[in-house]
Symmetry: C2
């Protein structure tokens, strides 16, 4: 398990890419979707059940883990992989995004950010160097640089200032990472620049000159339209080196994933499949399905008898409806499982289509199936 981090581009189809990267905890096929394990657990699921959905890598949240149980504490317990009993690769974010979205008092300076913990009100410092240190303590296969995530809308000046600060933090993150990096572990830079295409391109070019092992597009999936997001993705990916993986942070719906892969994205993370699963929503081959709807109450059919995952083939819609209405934990567990499995099926489908040179057809077929919608009532 001591392969270096490397990315291999296997095939392209248009601007869509089929690849593979290797980490100290194993290989990951791309385009890849990473389930979110915020607090050292993909909510509700045992690690082997996460693996059974087809996931090859999960994401952990630095902000949550640094506050509870703490990075040094996890390191003393043998690192995040051992702590959460997840043997495959882990990517951690840098905490920047959650500092913006979860803590209610922030003070930003050139040095870093000071914020009030949403758990106990303590004041906490996070700098680019500390973010790298935390992620090294966690043992992340892939670490992310600390960046400043702006709330949009913001003025052009403000967007430019935050992007430039993020670039300086990228430099410092890289120096800190190189000072302690172990063979095979990776650090990714993050492109910022809001909805300004010129700033995005400038950020991408500057990061590329710094030579990261991979590049993320950050500051999206924060409420902008899909059009805006996809335009930024389409304009940014050409400015990134072809031989490095590209990660679109916090995205998205199944349709977002297809459109972003089409524009050259290799990696995704998103809470949607698990969060929506906890609220009775299923993502399927037949589109998204609200299990709380009374139409499912007496329906003996499974969610999708063609699903690759037994949970979507075994339990009746009536049962999933019942669990949802009764607020039973198992409803959240089963629908999270089913949704993660569907996301992985979608990624597998895209990978196969790119290899076969038929990504456009795959997209058309998938969207046609979604557009047909759910099974007619019995």
């Amino acid at each position: 398990m001591n392969q270096p981090f490397s990315f291999r581009l296997i095939k392209t189809n248009g601007t869509a890419r089929r690849g593979e990267f290797a980490t100290p905890h194993g290989k990951v096929q791309t385009p890849a979707f990473m389930p979110v394990g915020t607090q050292a657990t993909v909510k509700g699921l045992m690690p082997n059940d996460v693996q059974a959905t087809g996931a090859e890598i999960v994401l952990g949240n630095t902000y949550h883990l640094m506050l509870r149980p703490g990075a040094e504490e996890i390191a003393a317990l043998g690192g995040l992989h051992k702590f959460m009993n997840w043997p495959l690769p882990i990517l951690t974010d840098s905490g920047g995004f959650q500092v913006m979205s979860l803590s209610d008092l922030r003070k930003l300076s050139e040095t870093g950010v000071t914020f009030r913990s949403h758990l106990d009100g303590a004041m906490v410092d996070l700098s680019p160097e500390r973010a790298v240190e935390i992620q090294a303590l966690l043992g992340a296969d892939i670490s992310m640089q600390l960046d400043e995530c702006l709330k949009l809308p913001a003025s052009s000046e403000e967007i430019a200032r935050a992007m430039q600060l993020s670039l300086r933090w990228a430099e410092r993150s890289k120096r800190a990472f190189e000072g302690r990096a172990k063979q095979g572990y990776a650090l990714f830079g993050i492109v910022q620049g809001g909805d300004d295409l010129a700033l995005r391109a400038e950020s991408a070019r500057a990061l590329t000159r710094m030579e990261f092992q991979g590049y993320a597009i950050g500051g999206l999936a924060v409420g902008e339209s899909q059009d805006v997001m996809l335009r930024i993705v389409a304009e940014t990916t050409p400015a990134l080196p072809a031989e490095r993986p590209r990660y679109l942070m916090g995205v998205g719906t199944p349709h977002d994933l297809i459109e972003a892969v089409k524009r050259g994205i290799d990696m995704f993370d998103c809470v949607l499949p698990t969060r929506n699963g906890r609220h009775g929503m299923a993502f399927t081959r037949l589109g998204s399905i609200n299990l709380a709807n009374a139409r499912h109450a007496n329906d003996p059919r499974p969610l999708d008898e063609q699903s690759a995952h037994p949970a979507a083939r075994t339990y009746s819609r009536a049962y999933l409806h019942h669990l949802t209405k009764a607020n039973e934990i198992l409803g959240a567990v089963l629908l999270s499982t089913i949704n993660l499995a569907y996301y992985q099926t979608l990624m597998t489908g895209m990978r196969d289509a790119i290899e076969a040179g038929r990504f456009v057809d795959f997209q058309a077929e998938t969207e046609t199936q979604w557009a047909k919608g759910d099974l007619p009532p019995r």
Copy 2:
């Protein structure tokens, strides 16, 4: 899978009994513990994970299932086994106990009980005949007669009246059951009589004359002391036929189980292992352990490295503490699993000890281990 219901007494050791019963969905070794699957799910656990704890039978709650999704609805979906994807035996209670404890308006008559649903306020009738019908619709391998469960303390007259009514309902339940019983399915009578030993004996003798396939002791585990409960058990079991299984409803702690098996009980159900698991409490070989306690925060040791279940050997106490403090679903899932597995290990231990004629020694060893308490802090 079409064996008739039968109980075979394999070995006795003092008044403790080792046996086996056969149902249409398979055999169950006794003494047996039945996890509670109130709303057609053992809370939080996938059915195969329940089976992996060693459970051979689960309990379903008629009261909850008749209100949501409804008995006829479950029957139309193929019965409770199929609905909840549980292939092994199911015992259902009659609803009497929950009518007492959950619905806020009740009108009791000779005919039955009318109550207000705690879900939607609808008025619902439950009679002995309807309780049998509901359980048949669910497809329960073992059904329970409807009884009147009294809140204690109550006057002797009131206890006697409720016991006599429960006997008349037992007769009616039996007639209704025989009118529709299928080969191999069983109906159990329920001994009532509060804390009055004479009334308990009278109830047991009258039920025995009616010839049920098994006998339960009801109306206990409602707040009385363990002494009172065990005295009633000890005085009641001799009045029941040796060749039929005996089920102590709603009990209990691991210590309750040992003391009741010692007094001739064959079957148990209780929410404790799952409910306490959802609140950070573990039942183990080392006694009960509160994972919310800060002493576990940095403890890399598993809950019990000698456990038969991998969950108790794999995850660190620090991780279980973290999940508990962070209110993560997986904490409830893992501790429920660990607790159910410990209950099954305890039952296996008792069965082996009875077969080996060393139940007293097993009890002493188990209690000595509990008394030593948890591991010393590291």
